[in-house]
């Protein structure tokens, strides 16, 4: 197992020690940036009228900040459950290729399928980035324990953080709350741009930024879906046109 010899590791059979090592990996720069984003999310949920229980449940159940922000946006614009779920599903399709890429790294010869299904809930952008970067240094038999430690720590600490911030927001002065609420859009402006795989992703982001507010005024309830589909089509057309031009 290459890389595993670079530090004195617990034995691969010692699942608890590897779980704790995974948990420790949550406290890293990507982990802190994620926490910042969830601080903003707690403010957003509270100011949008969600209860403490709903907000914490939402954090853990979707465990994807874009999905949660879309869910809140859909509920605020009066979408039905079907259309809200549809919008959230469209926004989180990216989970599938991420999980597809990660699972072969986690799986050992004796890993059960149920273990992988359970662990897949912990896959979100931050845990995925950390895992793809570091899991190769973990002996294969210990990888599920290590990722369980990383994923569950990120999920539980951020859910608790959301609850604590939710309770604090009410007592904060208006401008502080406003600055806190601004964390969500500014976080996504940077992370969406950075995570785009191709130029079409940048076009899609710019189109969505403009189309969201436009459709919000003309078609509330379907504004997100309309902006997503129209913006996606514009970006894909751009992708096809530039690919054709780039071809010799």
């Amino acid at each position: 197992m290459s890389g595993a010899e670079s530090f004195p590791p617990p034995s691969p059979q010692d699942g608890r020690r590897w779980y704790l090592r995974g948990a420790a990996a949550a406290f890293s720069v990507p982990g802190w940036i994620l926490a910042t984003a969830y601080v903003g999310f707690a403010g957003l949920a509270k100011e949008s009228g969600f209860s403490l229980g709903e907000t914490m449940f939402m954090t853990a159940a979707a465990w994807a900040l874009p999905a949660n922000v879309v869910l809140i946006g859909a509920i605020l614009s009066g979408a039905s459950l079907f259309w809200a779920a549809f919008a959230v599903a469209l926004s989180s399709f990216r989970m599938m290729p991420m999980v597809v890429a990660l699972m072969p790294e986690l799986r050992a010869a004796r890993t059960g399928r149920l273990t992988l299904y359970i662990l897949s809930h912990f896959v979100a952008v931050t845990s995925w980035v950390l895992a793809m970067e570091r899991v190769r240094k973990v002996p294969r038999e210990a990888r599920t324990a290590w990722f369980a430690g990383l994923g569950s720590t990120l999920l539980v600490t951020n859910t608790l953080l959301v609850g604590v911030v939710y309770l604090l927001v009410g007592g904060l002065p208006g401008p502080v709350t406003a600055a806190l609420l601004f964390l969500t859009p500014i976080y996504f402006l940077t992370s969406l741009w950075g995570s785009a795989r191709e130029k079409a992703g940048h076009v899609a982001m710019l189109a969505g930024l403009v189309l969201g507010p436009v459709f919000h005024t003309v078609w509330p309830g379907f504004d997100l879906l309309a902006a997503g589909l129209v913006g996606g089509i514009i970006a894909f057309a751009f992708h096809l046109l530039t690919a054709r031009r780039a071809a010799p």
Partner: protein
Amino acid sequence: MTFEAIDAAWWPYLFILIGGGLATDVWRFLGVHFGGRIPEESEALVFVRAVATALVAAVIGNLIVFPSGSLAETAPALRIGAAAAGFAAYLLSGKRMLVGIVAGEAVLIAGMAVGW
């Protein structure tokens, strides 16, 4: 069936479980199911990624132009300017998220301080 459709304590949680939990987990479970059998570079995936990105960006646009709560008391021009400044700082700093976030917040706070 909207979020307020049924006046019962369990309804918002069921709504969140299906609309937030199931709607994301279905992709995660499919990812486990397909594990390693999907080519990442197909044109269809480019399209789906573009739709997903535009959809999340639409929410972000709405949060900047039509915010709720305390942020709604600031001027729209200030919010758009602060977002643009944060994004510019992110690009100019070589895509460092923390720089972008701090710059955007700094412009917003400075703007609120002078009463915009």
